[in-house]
């Protein structure tokens, strides 16, 4: 629309490409349109993919990125537009056709089968065969193990996929996408649940594909990633095509101004996050969890949060962060441990009891555990407060409507109206609906597992501001985030987990980017210290990871330094 740059035949080689200038485009989309009932999701979008480029596709939640990918790959039939693949006009009737033609897609959200094994998921539809024509399970498992091993994740490929954490599942989806040779690889928010190390692995895979001449599409709301990886960028806004050009020619502010449709000066030079800084908090912890052990996942985890305090939980994939909050919430069978809220002990394993005591959990896997796709936006938001909104068993509709309206505006939830089914919202907007649901319950302890996963810059800042505001009202917040900035800027204190144990705790001036990185890597010793870190028992495992060996993390490391102490140690020292 506005300042569109024409790219069809220009030389647009970005950094790191070996492509000869003027290479013929692999994919050309012109004027794609698509509407769902009254909602116009695409209003004439162009996209050109060249061989050997990584093409960023960005835009706010609901801008139409996923829809564009889906009309291109045959999931939805487009209303109009011209689609060319390798120069020839095409319309794929179904995803299978696009795959057969050499377009491999990782759709947003993990689209795999949780009840099947990891290996089955990777090879579904293209299993290796024996000479009898049957599935060669041995070869399939071997190759799958090789494939996930190459991606640096340590999982049992014969185990059920659904038992893995979301991040590991995302890596399995990546393994599936690269297990076949493709000319085009499309990745719709592949990094939303990944830790820095996995993100690096994924980037490595993407760069290798680029080197071999594959065209890649990369969607992410973590804007920094775009400059690290991508050669060109296409920006969508409200279904319109806004901009296409080399990544290197854009700075962050310009990109955001394209996305939001605001002037660069309006976007301003904000910080990376919207967090205002440290919070003032009370002295007595409102949430007090200690000695939490979950079979083969957590051992002796302790966590205390005071009213008004935001405590971050850091750790690598499989370190037990999600398990910790789930255990507190009563959603995971615990072997031992005690959780109390405002001095009252919670019944172990009872979500109802936890809810009643004022604990709310925004879970990581919204698809499996949170959203009810066929209910309306309104009902999904109101679900958790229905009991409180009722007078003598009768729900007061107007109060609910008012509440829903408030959050729709505040979080900028993009939906046709409050009656729209949640399954029809874009990924990021579904996340916002979930956040709204739990905010309505006015909890005293709010456990947030990746709250800003998959939501756009604007809304991310809004959520961050909300977290600040909640803490200001005396809420105790536990924040899990794989984005380091969120932890460093948003939390007062960060508890670092490693292989199911509390490895370190950072607060005050210790809480810096570099310190956190060191702690995340499991190096509990001062960098000046010679020996290998004690907690280092090799690769972090997946969700089903084992606890560290019997010896505690501090054993054999000499004295823990002032900067990084184990929580257990801090307990011994006695606070105050």
């Amino acid at each position: 629309m506005t300042e569109e740059t024409t790219v069809a035949d220009d030389d647009v080689s970005g950094p790191g490409t070996l492509r000869p200038p003027g290479a013929a485009p692999l994919v050309q989309v012109r004027g794609a349109t698509k509407s769902f009932g009254g909602v116009q999701a695409l209003r004439g979008v162009d996209l050109t993919l060249l061989p050997g480029e990584i093409h960023a596709l960005v835009g706010e939640n609901g801008a139409g990125k996923s829809t564009l990918i889906k009309v291109l790959t045959g999931v939805y039939a487009p209303d109009g537009g011209e689609f060319r693949y390798g120069g020839e006009p095409v319309r794929f009737a179904r995803p299978a056709d696009a795959q057969r033609a050499g377009i491999s897609t990782i759709y947003q959200e993990v689209n795999l089968v949780p009840l099947l094994s990891v290996a089955r998921n990777i090879y579904l539809g293209r299993e290796p065969r024996t000479r009898w024509g049957t599935v060669d399970v041995g070869a399939m498992n071997r190759r799958a193990a090789q494939l996930v091993g190459d991606l640096g994740i340590d999982v049992d490929v014969t185990g059920e996929l659904g038992r893995l954490g979301l991040g590991a599942q995302q890596m399995v989806a990546l393994a599936r996408a690269v297990s076949v040779e493709s000319r085009v690889v499309i990745m719709d928010e592949p990094t939303s649940s990944l830790e820095p190390a996995e993100v690096e692995t994924l980037f490595g895979v993407a760069r290798n594909l680029r080197r071999s001449g594959t065209a890649l599409v990369f969607v992410s709301h973590r804007l920094d990633e775009l400059w690290q990886l991508c050669d060109r960028v296409t920006v969508l806004r409200d279904g319109h095509h806004v901009h296409t050009g080399p990544m290197a020619e854009l700075d962050r502010v310009t990109l955001v101004s394209h996305m939001l449709g605001k002037d660069a000066s309006e976007v301003g030079a904000q910080g990376v996050t919207e967090f205002a800084g440290k919070h003032r908090h009370g002295d007595a912890p409102v949430l007090d969890a200690s000695g939490i052990a979950v079979r083969s996942r957590l051992s002796d985890v302790a966590l205390q949060v005071r009213p008004g305090e935001v405590v971050g939980l850091g750790g690598l994939l499989g370190s037990g962060r999600s398990e910790t909050v789930k255990a507190i919430y009563g959603d995971l069978p615990v072997e031992s441990g005690r959780v109390s809220v405002a001095g009252r002990n919670l019944r172990a394993g009872s979500v109802r009891h936890a809810l009643k005591a004022g604990v709310a959990l925004l879970s990581e896997d919204r698809k499996a555990e949170g959203i009810i796709p066929d209910l309306s936006v309104r009902d999904n938001i109101a679900l958790a407060v229905l009991p409180r909104m009722a007078r003598g068993g009768i729900v007061v509709e107007s109060r609910i409507d008012a509440l829903v309206e408030t959050f729709m505006t505040r979080l900028k939830i993009k939906a046709a109206d409050t009656g729209q089914k949640v399954r029809e919202l874009s990924g990021g907007n579904q996340q916002k609906v979930l956040i709204a649901r739990w905010l309505c319950t006015e909890p005293t302890v709010f456990l947030l597992d990746e709250p800003t996963r998959g939501i756009d810059v604007g809304a991310k800042q809004e959520v961050q501001a909300l977290i600040d505001e909640l803490a200001g009202h005396g809420l105790a917040v536990v924040l899990i985030s794989s984005e380091m900035e969120e932890l460093v800027e948003g939390a007062d204190r960060v508890v670092v987990l490693h292989a199911g144990r509390v490895e370190a705790e950072l607060s005050g001036s210790e809480l810096s980017h570099s310190r956190l990185l060191t702690a995340l890597a499991g190096e509990s010793a001062d960098p000046a210290d010679d020996g290998q870190p004690a907690g280092d028992d090799g690769q972090p495992t997946d969700g089903a990871g084992q606890p560290a060996d019997g010896s505690g993390p501090s054993a054999g490391t000499g004295q823990p330094t002032a900067a990084v102490r184990t929580a257990a140690k801090e307990e011994e020292d006695g606070r105050g």
Partner: protein
């Protein structure tokens, strides 16, 4: 009604019990506690997958002690033969349920198959087998096409199929007044009445069919696709799996097997009994669920269904042995056991997950 607990209940996956113990590779020097837990997991997994098997063995053991006539060769082989008619139908139903569907038409289709076989047996062995297969397979095919291509709910489509097949049966038997007889001495009678090595042909056939079924489920891409569709249909579609074709094949085969079951019973009873198969669909579904297949699809085993079918037949047989009990008790007992097994399965599945 709180959000995060609204997970799909009772994920009873088809896994090797041994793996439960090794999930999360053993760290350096595993504590004794973890070993014990591993064993507990194994037992829980085994009970969950093979609850019906355990029950079957216990029931058989008790019955052989209490009723001297139970453990005789004649009684056991009659149990096997009588179980085979229903088990054949349950095999097809297993694939239907694994794929996230349901087929209520099998009872009627089964009865229709029996009548068609009895009628066609006057023209010889081959027509007696092929006519019911062709007609019942066609009914299955049409239902499959409507469900897969039309996107209609299997429950409704196969309910219509139930009525249709029953109506067709009544039509060709003059409102059920005509009972076709299989001609005496027809080779077709051998199908369910003949024996090889002391075991009925129909039982041999059953064993072969179940072996093929297990192979198809675990070793072909069709089988995996069925599981994927039942587990997460959207994902199966996005992964480019042939969802429509797979569903159509499943209902087609289910129709074929229901027809085959009907042909077997016609051979066994030497006639086309028109009142058979009423309510049979529910018995068949019970056998599948007893065998550990998730009613919501996506996980289960073929062998489990065989065990489930045998269990139901043994219950019938035992109740017949107790001379004083009305045979209606059989339904009561089967229902109770079904409820018990399914509750235990879902309890175990819930306590294991996380």
């Amino acid at each position: 009604m709180s959000g995060p607990t609204m997970e799909r209940a009772g994920a009873a996956p088809d896994r090797d019990p041994a793996k439960g113990a090794s999930a999360g590779s053993p760290g350096p020097g595993p504590q004794p506690g973890s070993v014990r837990l591993g064993l507990g997991m194994r037992i829980a997994e085994l009970a969950q997958r093979q609850g019906a098997l355990v029950l079957l063995i216990v029931l058989c053991a008790v019955a052989s002690v209490v009723f001297p006539s139970f453990a005789t060769g004649a009684n056991l082989s009659s149990i096997a033969v009588q179980a085979s008619f229903m088990a054949v139908v349950a095999l097809g139903m297993t694939f239907v349920i694994l794929g996230g569907g349901i087929d209520l038409s099998v009872g009627s289709v089964f009865a229709l198959g029996g009548v068609l076989a009895a009628w066609a047996s006057q023209y010889g062995f081959v027509p007696a087998l092929l006519v019911p297969l062709a007609v019942c397979g066609f009914i299955g095919l049409v239902q499959g096409l409507i469900i897969a291509k039309g996107g209609l709910a299997p429950f409704i489509v196969t309910l219509a199929g139930l009525l249709f097949a029953r109506g067709l049966l009544l039509f060709i038997t003059d409102e059920g007044t005509t009972t076709y007889k299989v001609p005496e001495g027809s080779a077709f009678l051998q199908l369910a009445q003949g024996e090889l090595l002391g075991v009925g042909y129909s039982v041999w056939l059953l064993v072969v069919l179940f072996a093929i079924g297990a192979l198809v489920l675990h070793r072909t891409s069709y089988g995996t696709t069925v599981l994927a569709i039942g587990g997460q249909e959207d994902a199966a579609e996005l992964m480019g799996l042939p969802v429509v074709r797979t569903k159509v094949i499943t209902y087609l085969v289910n129709g074929l097997l229901a027809g085959l079951g009907g042909a077997l019973i016609a051979s066994y009873t030497s006639s086309g009994v028109t009142v058979l198969g009423v309510g049979m669909e529910l018995e068949v579904i019970s056998a599948v669920v007893l065998g550990g297949t998730l009613l919501t699809g996506g996980a289960g085993t073929i062998l489990g269904t065989l065990v489930g079918a045998l269990l139901l037949q043994v219950i019938k047989n035992v109740i017949n042995q107790v001379g004083s009990l009305n045979s209606n008790w059989q339904a009561v007992v089967s229902g109770t056991i079904l409820l018990m097994v399914v509750s235990i399965q879902s309890y175990l599945a819930r306590s294991r997950r996380g």
